[in-house]
Amino acid sequence: MIALKLAYKNLMGAGLRTLLIVFVLSLAYVLIVYMNGLYQGWDRQARIESIAWEVAEGQYWQDMYDPYDAMTLTDAHAPLPAALEADASKGKTVPILITQATIYPEGRMMGALLKGIDTRQKILSLPTGELDPDSEEITAIVGTRMAKSAGLATGDYLLIRWRDVNGTFDATEVKITGIFKTAVPAVDMGQVWIPLNKLQEIAGMPGEATLVVMDESPEEGATIAGWEFKGHDYLFKELEDMIKMKSTGGSIFYLIILALALLAVFDTQVLSIFRRQREIGTYVAMGMTRKQVVGIFTVEGAMHAILAVILGAAYGFPLLLWTQKSGIKMPEGTDDFGMAAAEHMYPYYSLALVLGSIVLVMLTTTLVSYMPSRKITKMNPNDAIRGKIQ
């Protein structure tokens, strides 16, 4: 209690110097919370969007399917297992068939993935209702990114060429009946969505699929021969790795701010101990042990962090709340590297994040306050009382 009171009085006595250090420390607090909140918000938002548009509650992949290996895609299809087929008819699963194709927009040639999807599905947000499984011509939907890169608009006809199950090339025109906007590039870039029955027909793969999107996770231990279930842990690993990488890069910024603030605290402590030797000697003469005096100075340094929490809360709380409510507009092309990113990112500030940041800054500030204070234990109190430089 004495240490806290003394520390508070001394800090207030230091005036502008304290204010400056406290401000920079509070900036470190707010930036740590903001930056991490932004990445946490991004992670949450990307998960929500990906669940809605792409992965739902997990996917069964045909054994050969590897989204990063175009060579195996030709063989990554199999008849839908009976159990999954029954669920598909009840709307509980969405079978998707994938083949490689070449499209010819405006006479140019582009590689693409042709994806067949059950048009009645309600699990994913894809507007499959705009596909007509019964019309003579093949209807197709594409995302805005694909539409932009291929110069497509609703009503356009697009020439596509593919190889069927026997390796025979064939080609036809599909009609673009819808263009959808999504924050998930994985269902947009380089992809053309057509009715499942049409793709099964033109590829010669009746009743087959490459993957099956699930409305519910299967029971633990449930296996289907030739198919492997991929849960959120697996499907979001890449997303998490990418966010972790970006978050590490971003942390350099606030770590520099924190380092500057800690340097100022360290410098203040060194100066304080040098200038207040007489005071230190007096504490000892009045009956404090030198360890207790070290405690007073350490608390004084650490109190910068406490005042910074208060100041940071005063201006940071409304600021962070505002960013959480109105979101941060992401720069154009943020999603071009394949990660789900909406136009506006809504940071998410969890209690653990706020408390974690407070603990981090408090601990580091206490440590840099303690380090120079250790000098007091080596001081001769008789010399200190007289203010002799030691």
């Binding site: 207030m12 006595g13 042990t289």
Partner: protein, 232 residues
Amino acid sequence: MKNGSIITIENLVKSFPIGGGEFTALNGISLDFEKGEFSGIVGPSGSGKTTLLNILGSLDTPSKGQTNVLGTTSTQMSPKVAANLRKKHIGFIFQTYNLMPVYTVYENVEFPLLLIKTPVAERKKAVLEALEWVGLSDKIKSKPPQLSGGESQRVAIARAMVKKPDLVLADEPTANLDAENSHHILQTMEKLNKELQTTFVFATHDEKVIGYLRRIIRLEDGRVVEDAYIKK
């Protein structure tokens, strides 16, 4: 320890390493101090006054010999025991006052009582009483930079006396004061010594202080050359 003595010093030697050799600041000192004494260690600069005072105040330890301060011998004097002794039983008055600049007069005087965890009501009463002793009741909210030298030293006296210690050690308490202020604070200390029976030991070479002492211990080159009681 003799009957009635609160401090006993036997064959005290204090040496400091200097360069490759040793400097002996105190050499073979043997003294006793009784309760209620108003005594002073006098002598020229470098005679060992302050060193002796620091040993009495358990801020320093003897190189040889033994001390017994308020029942604690130098062999028992660990840093914690010494701190406890100072905290409860010894008050210090310094030449440079050594008040805490960020504290008010009231808070400066209150500080020793906080260290011994005196209850709030008792603490307030004691602080106001101590400030009344030194005639500074109207300055309780002032801070040290707003006080004159004499006032600052009176605050320091109040701080040393507030816990009613058994022993007050004053190192050149008048060195920074003019004659009028010096007499004022010496009269205050003399009055407190008589009223509270607190033992005062001064280290000084100021004639004004010497004029108030009832016992003079003269040091020269670390040895006692005179130990005289003055009849007043």
